[in-house]
Amino acid sequence: MRAALFVTCLVDGVVPQVAKATVQVLERVGVTVEMPWAQTCCGQMHVNTGYPREAIPLVRNHVAAFEGYDAIVVPSGSCTAAIRHQHADIARLAGDSALAAAAAQVAARTWELSEFLVDVLGVTDVGAYFPHRVTYHPTCHSLRLLRVGERPLQLLRAVEGIDLVELPDAEQCCGFGGTFALKNAAVSSAMLADKIAAMRRTGAQYAAAGDASCLLHIGGGLSRLSTGIGTRHLAEILAVTRRD
């Protein structure tokens, strides 16, 4: 099977190891990964900060970049949700019904990583080995916009050697919220403090999630407080094998 990777802007420029890990996992389970060079950003930040018109050229670019692919995989719940729930709407705002139809088509072929592995490929055991204590934070957009449910946990439970511990109040938002983290830094930090306290109670060595953006925020707090807890994207855990 062939699949196009939507890297996402944040992963491309800030945490490329997440996309490398995604490629490793996909190739290990037999997927031929393609990288459409024309891709940039889904435009979610523009839309969610109140600039939907500025997002129109980004949606146009995204649709043009991915139109020719049968399956598109994204290592982010939030970007997948933007493609699924915002793109056609933004195209309609531009008065471009052809773009809206094309955006809906692309969205229908776009999957968040855990959805793609579990639903499309029917795989839960990807042959990973990660002998560490891990706690998983279900990011809000994966949880409530995509409803990925148990899929990431099914994948993590199948990892050899993992000690997966439940995160107390897991479904509470970490406080990232895109530009919320800057515009309402005090509230964002207060939410983060509670999330970190919950992570500390688990005794985990690693905090895992399916969104690099939330992990950047959580990891930034974990690092600032010198907690010794590291962050790993779901793909980064699934990428490690006994041979590594």
Binding site: T40, C41, G50, V187
Partner: protein, 491 residues
């Protein structure tokens, strides 16, 4: 799209506007550790109870869809239903008054009370009268209003403001309540403890004297049935029913969106509301009346105050489905940290963040649509399926449009967003920008991570480190891998 010409809630009256920017008010609230403990305890308790009460109902999803559909029908035909309601209330001996805004409503109520010759009234808990600042208007006219809902009484005696739609004194614990009673309630027993039963008994004795003396009552309404002219108040304490039945004159102030078309629609809402608000299967007291009972005068004041302006926005109007249950407040991670006062408006939390800016016009509440991480917990909890996160995103664009329209040249944020969009709408420009971003590696050399950022990004590093930019972007890695692969293929 323009919303000009639609009257919004007037300035200078009522409680719908932020006094300080939300981030400032929120930071102040966060510093109050007692407030945070009180809120955390209260919201986490009610969250768990509500989840259990909702899980008991096998057809909750269908009820929720029905609730949304009934309310959408009301909003689509509001003109017709309002006239039908007026006709039915009048036919049953009541008098209907139309108030375009808070000032008109306050004048109508003040005039009606003056006609009775009374100088004091008892009140049923009501958001509409909080919204228009009725108590303050009555005080200015020399009329004393006594709140009879226990929590509203605590707020009133504490010279305080409600911080929650359903539990207005949620920010107070029992110790603080005892102190307020001892200080402000002349008939409170001097040895009053902070046991809830003792506190309730003291309030009961205090209120009983007010009920027996009252000649005029003011209430709100949870529902008004257009078909029958029936008004409904649901409550837990029975104090509302005392107000509704004992005084000779009853004045009800109600937002125009509170209508339900038919009596049988109550079947849906009397299930949705109690389970969502107090996590009860059924609320203890449901009072219903149509028009005036014998020997009583009944007046219904229908309040617009920005509701028609809200109705004019196709992407914002679903906020008028709200039945004021507060489920969205209780599940909101932002509300849990800041409490209600930070929002400025009597409608705090997620629903307040979409309702208040629409009632006042976005220029008067520009921060509220941004007071959310868009986590979506509110939408899941809403019994009438208001997609609050999507509405917040829509209102953010209205705020931005308003700011840009009133700013000489683009705002700095708009300029940054446009620049970023220009860069990101072209893959070559974006690839170039990504490589330029590696210059950021100059930062954070000392600790291996970035601990201080300049300008607006300093808000990030106030509590969070940032990793140094990587040596190689993903697309550069992929390009080098492709090149390696091709070399291997050739050899």
């Amino acid at each position: 799209m323009t919303f000009l010409g639609m009257p919004t809630a007037p300035r200078g009256v009522g409680q719908l506007r932020q006094e300080a920017p939300f981030p400032v008010a929120a930071a102040r609230a966060l510093d109050d550790s007692q407030l945070r403990r009180n809120l955390r305890h209260a919201t986490s308790t009610i969250r768990a109870k509500r989840a259990a009460a909702v899980a008991e109902v096998p057809d909750w999803a269908e009820l929720r869809a029905a609730g949304a559909a009934i309310k959408d029908d009301v909003l689509a035909h509001l003109d017709r239903y309002l006239l039908q309601l007026e006709q039915q209330v009048t036919a049953h001996g009541g008098t209907v008054h139309w108030a375009g805004d808070a000032n008109e409503a306050n004048q109508i109520v003040t005039g009606l009370i003056r006609t009775t010759g009374q100088s004091s009234v008892v009140k049923v808990k009501s958001m509409a009268t909080q919204e228009i600042g009725l108590n303050e208007a009555l005080a200015a006219a020399g009329i004393e209003a006594t709140e009879t809902d226990l929590a509203e009484l605590i707020v009133q005696l504490g010279h305080d403001r409600p911080s929650h739609i359903l539990v207005p004194a949620i920010h107070r614990n029992r110790n603080q309540i005892r102190d307020i009673f001892l200080r402000e309630m002349p008939d409170a027993p001097p040895n009053l403890s902070d046991e809830p039963a003792e506190l309730a008994a003291a309030a009961r004795a205090h209120l009983r004297r007010k009920f027996l003396a009252a000649q005029v009552a003011v209430s709100g309404a949870n529902f008004a049935i257009a078909e029958t002219g029936t008004l409904a108040v649901v409550e837990s304490e029975g104090n509302g029913r005392m107000c509704l039945t004992l005084p000779r004159t009853l004045i009800t102030v109600m937002g125009i969106e509170k209508i339900l078309p038919a009596w049988r629609d109550l079947e849906v809402f009397l299930q949705l509301l109690p389970r969502s608000s107090t996590a009860e299967r059924m609320n203890p007291y449901t009072s219903m009346w149509a028009g005036a009972v014998e020997g009583q005068d009944f007046h219904l004041v229908l309040l617009d105050n920005g509701r028609t302006a809200t109705l004019a926005d196709p992407r914002g109007r679903a906020a008028l489905r709200c039945i004021r249950c507060s489920a969205c407040l209780n599940v909101c991670p932002v509300y849990e940290r800041t409490g209600g006062h930070a929002y400025g408006s009597v409608y705090p939390g997620p629903i307040g963040a979409v309702l208040s800016p629409q009632l006042t016009g976005v220029a008067d509440n520009p921060d509220l649509p941004f007071a959310s991480t868009l986590c979506g917990a509110c939408y899941d909890a809403c019994p009438v399926a208001i997609d609050i996160p999507a509405m917040l995103v829509h209102l953010r664009s209205r705020v931005v449009d308003d700011k840009v329209a009133h700013h000489r040249g683009p705002t700095p944020e708009a300029a940054a967003m446009r620049g970023l969009a220009w860069t990101m709408s072209d893959p070559r420009r974006w690839a170039w920008a990504l490589r330029a971003g590696r210059a950021g590696r100059l930062l954070g050399r000392r600790y291996g991570r970035i601990r201080h950022l300049p300008g607006p990004l300093a808000a990030w590093t106030s509590s969070r480190d940032l990793p140094r930019p990587p040596r190689q972007t993903f697309r550069d890695w992929w390009a080098s891998r492709d090149a390696d692969g091709e070399r291997e293929n050739r050899s």
